[in-house]
């Protein structure tokens, strides 16, 4: 069925190879022709700046630079390209016949100059903020690195603030991001492999791993999957995250993402592989298992008892956010004998004269909570407060007083909502499975609840992330893998890396010394 739908897709899809630039011939030896060539390539692109100039002594040295306005550092162009070429007494200083080479070697002041003839490469470089240097009489050109656009400074990411820990976060610039990581792991084994994805956007991505820790299977698997991506554009790493996912229909993420360099560094040290995407401060990590949803970077910087407690809270609330409405519903509408008598009486008294059935009011209230959450995200911050006041007052108190819903339903909704927000990592899974469990409980009580819970469990057990079982560590308590799952073992006890992630060079600190603690 689905295949048929895809077959109808028009032939000239946006993923079709961009053919414009390839048609052009190479550079010619006349400066004017070359300039005309680039003008035609960048037709209707008025950000292209073309500046022609001549050396004051050597008339033959007619030059031209081309760059994109806003992508370059003008100071470098003025001081290091135009000024030396203009002022230098070329008629005296030039020794060889190859003027272009002489200029590159002796005149232009830049750390990165390349001689290029391929039009595609040249155009790519211009777009990426380099300056093209053309010289009359040469069918080759110089590409001078002058990248210098505005980038956001390195600040603490809003999505993951910490009380204790490094306060830097990734930016939108891939090179800055890589430098942030490099500063944390000073090791030549730290490998960076670039790859361009996106037929039209040519987004730069970088696979990053520690050569003697990462699993080669996972690496080749990742490369294969990236190879298969044929999409016109990558705006954020979220595109790739979804394109390389193991279980495409599952609401659970099998590729991790983070905005923090310290998290990436720690994950690389565990044998994972990171994928940087230019333009996105979110860096992906694979393999990604379920316990990583409950791990926070602060766990490793704080006292291990406190960290373990926090981690258990996250795990517990993850379960409650999915199950609480369903359990409440089945107890109140199917299995009243399971409630203690005083509780039954108080629930019953709050239900008096309420017209909407419990199951309907639960669905409505949970839906309204999600609406409020979404409004809170979309609203500009100053208006956001109004929403929360109106939402909590009107929907909470007034609805109960007006006898539209019973108070316990509001309480259950509130608990569910709050606990959902603790685990934002898998909020889509929470919402879907919460609804599924609630439906099961609405039709069959505890029996239906358990049935759907088993479905959830089987689903979780069936997922893999790059060959690693998603539920790994959850059921284990022994060393290696259990030390960092539901608990965070003290650092002096964590002597090995997780076995199943990278699987190479397991010891992280000598064992005997640390045994005594």
């Amino acid at each position: 069925m689905l295949n048929n739908l895809f077959k109808k897709k028009p032939k000239d899809s946006p993923t079709g190879k961009e053919a414009n630039t390839a048609e052009y011939l190479g550079l010619s030896k006349t400066l004017e022709k070359n300039i005309a060539l680039f003008k035609s390539i960048f037709e209707n692109d008025e950000t292209l700046v073309i500046r022609e100039f001549q050396n004051k002594n050597l008339k033959a040295a007619r030059c031209c630079i081309l760059y994109i306005d806003g992508m370059v550092n003008s100071e470098i162009i003025n001081q290091n390209i135009i000024l030396p070429v203009l002022r230098n007494d070329l008629s005296v200083n030039i020794e060889s016949d190859n003027l272009l080479n002489e200029l590159m070697c002796k005149v232009i002041v830049s750390n990165d100059v390349k001689e290029k003839a391929d039009i595609n490469e040249i155009v790519g470089s211009i777009i990426y903020g380099d300056t093209l240097f053309l010289l009359d009489g040469y069918d080759k050109a110089l590409i001078i690195s002058t990248k210098g656009w505005q980038i956001r400074s390195v600040t603490e990411p809003d999505s993951a603030k910490v009380v204790r820990g490094p306060r830097e976060g990734f930016t939108e610039s891939i090179l800055v991001n890589l430098s942030l990581l490099r500063r944390k792991i000073k090791n030549p084994q730290l490998k960076f492999r670039f790859k361009e994805i996106g037929e039209r956007t040519h987004t730069r991505t970088c696979i990053c791993y520690i050569g003697n820790l990462a699993s080669m299977d996972v690496l080749s698997q990742l490369e294969q999957r990236l190879e298969k991506i044929k999409i016109d554009g990558i705006i954020d790493s979220g595109y790739i995250q979804e394109l390389i996912k193991d279980a495409p229909y599952s609401p659970f993420e099998t590729v991790g993402s983070t905005e923090r360099p310290d998290v990436i560094a720690a994950k690389l040290l565990e044998g994972r592989i990171a994928l940087f995407v230019d333009g996105s401060p979110f860096v992906l990590t694979v393999p990604y298992v379920v316990v990583e949803n409950f791990q926070a970077n602060e766990d490793y910087y704080n006292n291990y008892i406190f960290a373990t407690m926090n981690r258990l809270i996250r795990g517990f609330t993850a379960v409650t956010s999915i199950t609480i409405p369903a359990i409440f519903l089945s107890l109140v509408t199917y299995h009243q004998e399971m409630l203690p008598t005083p509780m039954l009486l108080s629930i019953s008294s709050s239900r008096q004269n309420v017209p909407i059935p419990t199951v309907a009011s639960l669905f409505i209230m949970l839906f309204i909570f999600d609406v409020l959450r979404e409004v809170g995200v979309r609203m500009p911050t100053p208006i956001g407060q109004t929403v929360s006041i109106v939402g909590s007052l009107v929907l909470g108190q007034a609805a109960v007083e007006a006898k539209l819903v019973s108070a316990p339903v509001i309480i259950v909704t509130a608990i569910t909502g709050i606990t959902t927000l603790i685990n934002m990592n898998f909020i889509s899974a929470t919402i879907i499975f919460r609804t599924l469990l609630l439906l099961g409980a609405a039709f069959l009580g505890i029996y239906g609840f358990l049935l759907c819970f088993i479905i959830l469990y089987l689903h979780l057990m069936s997922i893999r992330s790059f060959g690693v079982p998603y539920m790994m560590n959850v059921t284990k308590a022994q060393n290696h893998d259990g030390q960092d799952a539901w608990i965070r073992a003290p650092w002096w006890m964590m002597t090995t890396r997780p076995k199943i992630i990278g699987g190479r060079d397991l010891p992280r600190q000598p064992q005997s010394k640390n045994e005594k603690g």
Partner: protein
Amino acid sequence: MKRIKATLLTLMLLISCIFFAGCLNYREVDEFSIVAGVAVDKEQSGQYKLTAEVVKIGGGKDTKTTSELITGEGKTMFDAARNMISVSGKKLYWSHAKVLILSETVAREGVGKILDWYGRDPETREETLILVSQAETAREIFDIPENTEDIKSFQLGQIITNEKSLSKAPKTDILQFAIDSQSGKAATVIPTIGLKQAEKKTVAQIMGVAIIKDDKLAGMLDGEETKYLSFIKDEIKGGILTEEVQVRGTPTRIALEIFGSKTKTSPVIQGNDIQMNIDIETTVSIGEISGNGNFIEEEGRVQLEKLAGAVLKQRVEALIEKIKMQYGADIFGFGGKLREDRVKVWNSVSSNWNDVFKSLKINVTATVHIKNSAGYTRNLQESESS
């Protein structure tokens, strides 16, 4: 094709689960009336009259839960229970009922037939407590003005639960009664509830037990006797032993608080002769001395211990004698004990156990240990005079 087959099979299994899983009716809590307790009476006409105390829940801000009585008549218990719907309008919900009160008339006719429906029905609970009413009808108990709790049945349930520190009424629920009557015991006991006038108010008092012999009410014991019954059955959880001692000619009352008690019952067989040895060992503390006399020092204490032991032995013996003479019902569970320890002997006497019980020789020994004297180390009156 295989996949479709597997899916269909799974679906069929799941769907059949739905139909065979039992009670699966969605009902809101406000759709039924919660029964808190039931009283069973018998009319002159031979019909059962069931009175249910139903929780009346008021909605709104200041919620006050009160109760109302609903009466239904019918040829059997179930019939009467269903007839109540015609009065109440809502369906009755029995799972949270705390007490089941039987009138004396009903209990004399037979307890088992009343409890059959109650135990058999899936909604009613086997942990409902049974009581036998000493008042004329069982319904009267629900007419008392409310006291600590708004709902009288819950109040009664509380009384029984808290009465373990008194040991004057055992906690008997339907399950316990069913086990007792099924496990070959000829007699068992159910706590009794009576009405008492106090400060111009009628209050309910749970004290003493009713003796059920061969499923029928045979007689009643008062609270004090019930305490010694608990001693024999090793069910003492607390309570007070009061002793009267002569100190320089004036009687002094001493209350001993029971901390723990262990009773060992063992049958002794010599030929055809069966005897029962009962060893009671009780740990107490001096809870109150209303008078003079030194009972803290070694000498006085040992004397008090001996006295208390002797009194306990005498009262236990008196109770056994009374039961043997008046009722001939083995409410102490001696038969069960014999079956546990000497099954062969039991098999030979079980057919006429009631007669054997009447002539059974029972040797009682009672030891009382005084552990401490609570907060005081000497008497209040003495310390004032010295």
